[in-house]
Symmetry: C2
Subunit: 415 residues, 2 copies
């Protein structure tokens, strides 16, 4: 089954916003086992939109349209699709009631006149209740062709798709698609592919695909079968084999778990507390830890020590260490970690010091050179990295590696 996406909106053609909806829908459709050959963006223009819808319905089985369902005159997606597919517009009383209800609960109890436009639907369409806005989602069926109309704001589109469109599309297909994600940190994508190449090449069901993220590689294993239990059975041994080959580089096998969530999970599991001591990352490691709701159980404080004086005063790094080895050195990183754990009275402390650039690099210590250290009890691990890229790339990679260093330190001590 072939699906395609038409995104409607002049703001996309002007470059005001990035088309994140298209990415979301493409990924979801791939997970449903649907094939996508085309994506299109058109403006709020009746002629060009008609043309795009006609072309899409001609070459694809399912056309998903996003945007242009608002209450204004500019919003033409519903009217245009109805016209192209030959459906008259009729009032949907349930949508009318929902709009009334929506405004009653909002801060603007008077309903603008043009909002009633949104209660008009193509005759025979499936109406999908939108709980986050006034425009309903719509599914239009004609023969073997289907048009699915969704509102443009992601916080309306995503719940509508996940809750109502996905089950609808699943029913159209005889098989079930199940996928699982294995997330890896500290190993490059080409290295992961090298390790898994025979699996990737050999497998057709499940399939294996790798995705490079900053400092991480995500591996998706996707199987299709007549029932989800069968698909899961196909996936399980492959996940196990990937974990075996990649070892502790695998930080999670749950799609929704981020690296910082995995770190907080391990800290909680072993009842450990963490502190941070950051120079070039300037608080971003702590910021990632605090992303995790409930981090307060394991993270109480962090230090941003950007100047040498702050490193000495807050982390008790010795003056002679900085003088002898420099602020960006394994010796300073080590003292920052040990001093940070002591000052924060925590079990672990991770420290980062480096040259993020664009200035400050030398031949001996070039831009991108970063030392990080993590201490746990008496043991301190120090690592040296030479990152590529601009200031923000160097810092982003440092943050990921620092989080992973905490994770590996805990695992190393709890084998």
């Amino acid at each position: 089954m072939v699906v395609e996406v038409i995104s409607v909106g002049t703001e996309l053609l002007l470059g005001n916003i990035v088309n994140t909806n298209a990415r979301y829908l493409a990924e979801e459709c791939a997970l449903l086992g649907l094939t996508m050959y085309n994506q299109t963006v058109v403006g709020d223009n009746r002629g060009r939109l008609s043309e795009a819808v006609r072309t899409a319905l001609d070459r694809s089985d399912i056309v998903i349209l996003t945007g242009g369902l608002g209450p204004t005159e500019d919003d033409l997606t519903k009217e245009t699709c109805a016209e192209v597919m030959g459906f008259p517009l009729v009032e949907d009383s349930r949508t009318r009631d929902r709009i009334t209800e929506y405004f009653k609960n909002s801060r603007h109890p008077e309903i603008p006149g043009n909002n009633w436009k949104q209660a008009m639907v193509p005759e025979g369409a499936l109406v999908l209740d939108n709980h986050n806005g006034t425009a309903p989602g719509l599914i239009l069926e004609k023969g073997q062709k289907r048009a699915i109309l969704l509102p443009g704001p992601p916080d309306e589109l995503i719940p509508l798709f996940a809750g109502q469109v996905k089950p609808y599309l699943q029913k159209l297909r005889p098989e079930v698609i199940v996928s699982q994600m294995v997330k890896i940190c500290g190993v490059g994508e080409s290295k992961v592919e090298e390790e898994l190449i025979d699996l990737i090449d050999r497998q057709t069901n499940p399939t294996i695909a790798t995705y490079a993220k900053t400092g991480e590689v995500h591996v998706r294993i996707t199987a299709s079968a007549s029932a989800s239990e069968t698909a899961e059975k196909l996936i399980k041994p492959v996940v196990k084999e990937i974990k075996r080959r990649m070892g502790t580089a695998v930080y999670t096998a749950r799609a929704e778990e981020t690296l910082e969530m995995a770190v907080v999970r391990l800290l909680k599991k072993y009842e450990l507390t963490l502190a941070t001591a950051e120079s070039c990352t300037g608080g971003l490691v702590a910021g990632r830890i605090v992303n995790v709701a409930g981090a307060s159980d394991v993270f109480h404080q962090g230090f941003v020590t950007y100047s040498n004086k702050a490193k000495r005063k807050l982390l008790d790094v010795s003056k002679s260490t900085i003088k002898k080895y420099g602020a960006v050195s394994k010796e300073t990183a080590k003292e920052m970690a040990v001093g940070g754990a002591f000052a924060a009275d925590s079990d672990l402390c991770v420290a980062v010091t480096g040259i993020a650039g664009p200035d400050g690099g030398t031949e001996e210590k070039p831009v991108g050179l970063v030392y990080m250290a993590c201490c746990l009890g008496d043991k301190v691990t120090v690592e040296r990295y030479q990152f590529r890229g601009n200031r923000s790339k160097v810092r982003e990679q440092s943050v990921v590696r620092a989080l992973d260093l905490v994770r590996r330190t805990i695992l190393e001590n709890h084998k």
Copy 2:
């Protein structure tokens, strides 16, 4: 002149990556005064790509293609465009030399055989040197139609477009387009539009457009004229009027200056130092300040005090204040800022404490409640916010407002 973008890549159709190139090109083309009616995404498939190129060349004057210029068999953009437009491929000796040079300077001195494919160009094409990769950019001209081929990686595409394609496109148009950005913080988009509505409605040259960002509103003023001096003259009084109406809410009138850059600029100007004391933002305010190269002149240290104990120990917040008013209160925020400035021996300190959620909210202090304080000398300003959205939205908004509070505090004291 009508332009359109064709993005080539299966990874876009699978939803592996977001199409940020299309947004960048759309924005740049709009700034050049070119009209865009269509954007298309197709996979690495000869038949479908041919079809897309034919359709695009038929309805538009300029077609910009991105991606599919790599060295592998899958990369078909150049071959397909050459075929559709009727140009044979010939070897470009300068590109061949550049590839040799590129590999000589890299860590992989042997050149993979298939990389020579990248030295083949459509006969008569303008070859654009790519200094960040091996695939050159290409401009194919046939009659009044033009195809511009650019590599997919943004760090290759953007420099090629900005350095070589933009000047080429500018020459095609009789007028010059000049634009300026005015950036506003602390006022919502609808309020900004309300203040400027007569200007927005009245102006046709320059035009005025507003863009909502997290906690910020950017206003772009764009003029076209026969010479850039004339366009600048059209823009100047409008920028002045916007600044007059929006007052100190305008933090910059330079497109490339971010909020944190404006804060660091003011700190440097008045020779002030800043410290940070963060609870719910967990280091992200400090992280934003450190985004700015050269921040070390004005920022030496920051505290992440996530627990009450850390607030007491590092910032000297009194036990009774936390007990009486709670950790999320104006009293605690105030003591955090004052204590942080003292501990860091800095001129200013900004403090943030709030309930980011999803847990921890009460009827009296709901999720999204954030207090922030900034002290400078004897003066402390405390502000209370009730943000909407999930944990990360609450924290992102807090960071922007905290940076802006620093900015306003400095301005207030240097009127």
